[in-house]
């Protein structure tokens, strides 16, 4: 029997708002414990929640960026459960009337075909406090940090359209790119600003039945999501082959052992409408105003890069995924760099160099203008590629212009024919063996001689001029 998997994702994303969802406390969960608190997020008697407009807008932009339909009326519910991380006894979440419905992300399937993965709905909710378990001497204690309590989250619930780990991983990568692009969150699974849980069931291939699903949690990277789903599919398939019944439960991914293990399910309480947070009403006009604020989407940008700059689809999608990189790329072009050179230097030189130095492109000293100045010197043959790479390293460390660095460090390329002429004469005199080889028709001797001449110039000679003069002289020697 051949099985196929039916997979849906539930993704929590922490919005990068300045304040919490229902109060003005700073949304900095990592600060000293319990500094970012007030009567509202500690839920003291008499406090009343006030929905942050900024959070609502960031959430709505996120929805629009995922092709979702913002609902004219949405509302908060109380998800009732009792736990020390939730001192008011319920979490404010949108259970009955979510902020948006529908939406999708297009990915490329393993066979290269396009696949659309649909979103069921997206809702807002508040985060809960963080429990910290420590030892006080030999006594275990549990402490509660309320910095995170009330932090603004959105939850994206997909349709069960996914069939493979590849689908889930591509979806998450595209989701991250699109949400970062609209500026609502950093979406880092490693830093916990994006968390993905997967619901997985299997069925006989070709049927349309929906079987009991298993929820898998605790994946801290896109890779883990893929691995956990792959593991779970084979575990369930083996169980089904052996005639075991799949029961509804939750499992934890163990990234060390690369297995999932069952966990005790959290109690799922009821959801009742919250009478304190007013119903959210967004008019058509407000929704259109938000839509007008959307930046260009990665997929649209990739198409434009292909048409406008002649990049391949793969190159274009790579450069478009991250708004920061795309903007940098286009700024290089605005500064007069040819698109291919801009793409090449950005992806193979600047990005790895910035990564090595742990710098964001937007913060690096190597601004588009400075890199463009360097690349234009290269294009004008004032320096060669080796020198340009070295100058780039200097640009990260100093504020001097590339021109100043080139002249101060002597990177200027020598193109003076007289100088190169005498240099080559000396090389030919020093290397009679190589000259003889060339005469005997061994073409690679030319490369060796060019290298020698380059070395003799201290790496500064223009390789094109060397090749031209050397070729002429060797041909003359052959005829002689």
């Amino acid at each position: 029997m051949e099985f196929e998997a039916v997979i849906g994702l539930e993704i929590h994303i922490e919005l990068n708002c300045a304040t919490k969802l229902f109060c003005d406390c700073p949304n900095n969960p990592g600060d000293e414990p319990n500094v970012n608190t007030c009567p509202v997020c500690l839920w003291f008697p008499g406090a009343s929640p006030r929905l942050s407009r900024a959070a609502l807008e960031k959430a709505a932009l996120l929805c629009l960026g995922l092709n979702a339909e913002i609902q004219p009326v949405s509302a908060f519910d109380q998800k009732v459960y009792y736990y020390p991380d939730l001192p008011k006894g319920y979490q404010l979440s949108q259970a009955h009337l979510p902020l948006s419905r529908g939406g999708w992300i297009d990915i490329t399937d393993e066979d290269g075909s396009a696949k659309r993965l649909r979103i069921h709905h997206i809702h807002m909710e508040e985060d809960v406090a963080k429990l910290v378990h420590e030892m006080e001497g030999r006594k275990p204690v549990s402490l509660v940090d309320f910095n995170r309590a009330g932090a603004p989250l959105v939850e994206i619930v997909t349709e069960p359209d996914f069939r493979t780990p590849h689908h889930a991983m591509e979806f998450l990568k595209a989701l991250r790119a699109q949400v970062r692009n609209v500026g609502s969150s950093e979406c880092s699974m490693e830093n916990g600003t994006m968390r993905a849980d997967a619901n997985i069931s299997i069925r006989t291939k070709g049927t349309s039945q929906m079987n009991t699903k298993v929820e898998v949690k605790n994946m801290n990277s896109v890779r883990h999501v893929g691995d956990a789903i792959a593991y779970e599919i084979s575990r369930q398939s083996a169980a089904a082959q052996a005639g075991e019944k799949i029961v509804l439960h939750t499992r934890l991914w163990d990234p060390e052992k690369k297995v999932t293990t069952p966990m005790r399910a959290k109690f799922e309480g009821p959801c009742v409408p919250d009478p304190c947070v007013p119903v959210i009403k967004l008019s058509k006009k407000e929704i259109e105003e938000l839509r007008a604020r959307l930046p260009e989407m990665p997929a649209d940008r990739a198409k434009r890069f292909v048409n406008q700059y002649g990049l391949s689809a793969e190159e274009a999608s790579y450069l478009s995924a991250d708004a920061e990189i795309a903007v940098y790329f286009e700024n290089l072009i605005k500064e007069g760099v040819a698109p291919r050179a801009a793409m090449h230097w950005l992806t193979t030189q600047l990005m790895p160099a910035a990564k090595d130095r742990n710098q964001e492109l937007s913060q690096a000293k190597v601004t588009p203008a400075r890199l463009a100045a360097l690349l234009k010197m290269l294009a004008r043959d004032e320096i060669n590629a080796n020198a340009a790479r070295e100058v780039l390293a200097h640009l990260f460390a100093s504020d001097e212009s590339p021109e100043a660095i080139v002249s101060a460090k002597g990177f200027k390329q020598v193109s003076d024919r007289g100088e190169i002429d005498s240099l080559i004469d000396k090389v030919l005199a020093d290397q009679p063996g190589a000259v003889a080889d060339f005469k005997n028709g061994q073409g690679k001797a030319l490369g060796f001689l060019i290298g020698q001449a380059m070395q003799a110039s201290g790496g500064k000679a223009n390789p094109k001029v060397i090749r031209e003069i050397l070729t002429k002289k060797l041909e003359a020697l052959c005829k002689a």
Partner: protein
């Protein structure tokens, strides 16, 4: 122990000025005054001192009023057990008392004390700083011998408050007195209520209607067959909200913590078990029952609520005011159960379900009457009250 006051404020403001400078206000200990023991009549909040002033308290003080203390209240203001609301006015120790009305408590307390009681429309007074129980229904209400004082307080404390986002935005409503001309006023009476009343109650109620007609008002019979459903809707929706609202009282940061518990869960259960009184516990358990076991019944109650609100809107459009009885004389004065508690509120709970304003006026018969109006009728209701009490513009 003081029989009326739960807490007395001995600090007198040096000098007071403003519209309320001669007014002494007593409050219930569920309306926050910074530093006062805002314990809401419950052991669950034992030792809790408010951090900030409630907006109503803040505005009243700004207008020159003196806050003289907290009066004894029932647990979270639900029902009238242990409540001393109104006594402070009878003893003339205060001019005004602020009392929470969840199902009619403030109006029945006014009746007991023989004073006027006004439940403003939902959203007229800020709920910021109110440690409440039924957020969508309860309203801080005003008790006083004088309707002029009630209007004075309303004018000082009403209006938009950015700290209470459940309030409608916009300008503060006009609460100025208006002229009452009985010849131009229609007072509605719900015949479905009359029909169900015991003969003796009905007799005194009809006597009141005759008096109004003699005074020149037109009395008009209105039909509201579903009126009796307000109570059930209140009980279901109210208990569900109360159950959620009281979830935060876990004894961790204030209140009485049970020392024997071995873990958090045990501490939570035993502390709550020890803190809440029997009536409140049965109310919270009922709410949890609807949340966890009978959610569909709760949803039905919400739908019915919307229908009743629409029907009431339609009814208030057919008359300028509607008169209703206040007290159910068949109800026990000392109810022992949740059901008995609710039977006290058969004539009052409607206004908490709809959010419309209601004025209770005492009467020499000892029963008193409620007058209600359309949703924005707060100002007119007070003018009618002043007219009927003999102090209004004629």
């Amino acid at each position: 122990m003081d029989s009326v006051f739960f807490y007395r404020n001995n600090i007198k403001a040096a000098s007071r000025s403003g519209a309320l400078q001669k007014i002494k206000i007593a409050l219930q200990p569920n309306i926050s005054v910074a530093g006062w023991p805002t314990e809401t009549g419950s052991n669950a909040l034992a030792g809790f001192k408010a951090l900030e002033n409630a907006t109503v308290a803040e505005h009243a003080v700004k207008a020159g009023a003196q806050l003289i203390g907290y009066t004894r209240m029932s647990e979270f203001g639900f029902g009238l057990k242990n409540s001393m609301a109104g006594s402070v006015l009878q003893k003339k120790a205060a001019d005004v008392e602020l009392v929470l009305d969840l199902a009619g408590e403030a109006r029945l307390a006014a009746l007991r004390a023989g004073v006027c009681g006004f439940k403003p429309r939902y959203g007229l007074l800020s709920r910021f700083g109110l440690a409440g129980l039924i957020p969508s229904m309860e309203a801080i209400s005003i008790l006083s011998m004088s309707i002029k004082n009630i209007r004075g307080i309303l004018q000082a404390v009403a209006g938009a408050d950015e700290r209470d986002s459940s309030m409608p935005e916009g300008k503060t409503p006009d609460l100025k007195p208006t002229k009452i001309d009985p010849k131009k006023i229609k007072i509605g009476v719900i015949k479905d209520i009359l029909r169900e009343m015991p003969a003796n109650e009905r007799e005194s109620f009809e006597k009141k209607l005759n008096e109004l007609e003699k005074a020149g008002f037109a009395v008009k019979e209105l039909s509201f067959p579903d009126f009796s459903q307000f109570l059930a809707v209140h009980q279901i929706v109210g208990s569900v909200e109360a159950s959620s609202c009281a979830g935060r009282y876990d004894s961790v940061r204030y209140g009485k913590r049970e020392p024997q518990a071995k873990n958090w869960n045990e501490m939570y259960l035993s502390s709550r078990g020890a803190a809440f009184g029997t009536l409140l516990k049965s109310y919270l358990i009922q709410g949890a029952y609807f949340q966890f076991e009978s959610y569909a019944a709760y949803e039905n109650a919400c739908r019915l609520r919307a229908r009743l609100v629409a029907q009431m809107k339609n009814l208030t459009a057919q008359a300028d005011f509607i008169i209703l009885p206040a007290v159910n004389q068949a109800a026990s004065e000392n109810p022992a159960t949740l059901a008995e508690t609710y039977t006290q509120f058969i004539y009052t709970a409607f206004a908490n379900v709809t959010g419309q304003p209601v004025l209770f006026l005492p009467d020499k018969s000892g029963a008193g009457f409620q007058f209600t109006a359309a949703r924005l009728g707060d100002g007119q209701l007070l003018s009618l009250g002043e007219y009927l009490q003999g102090g209004g513009e004629k």
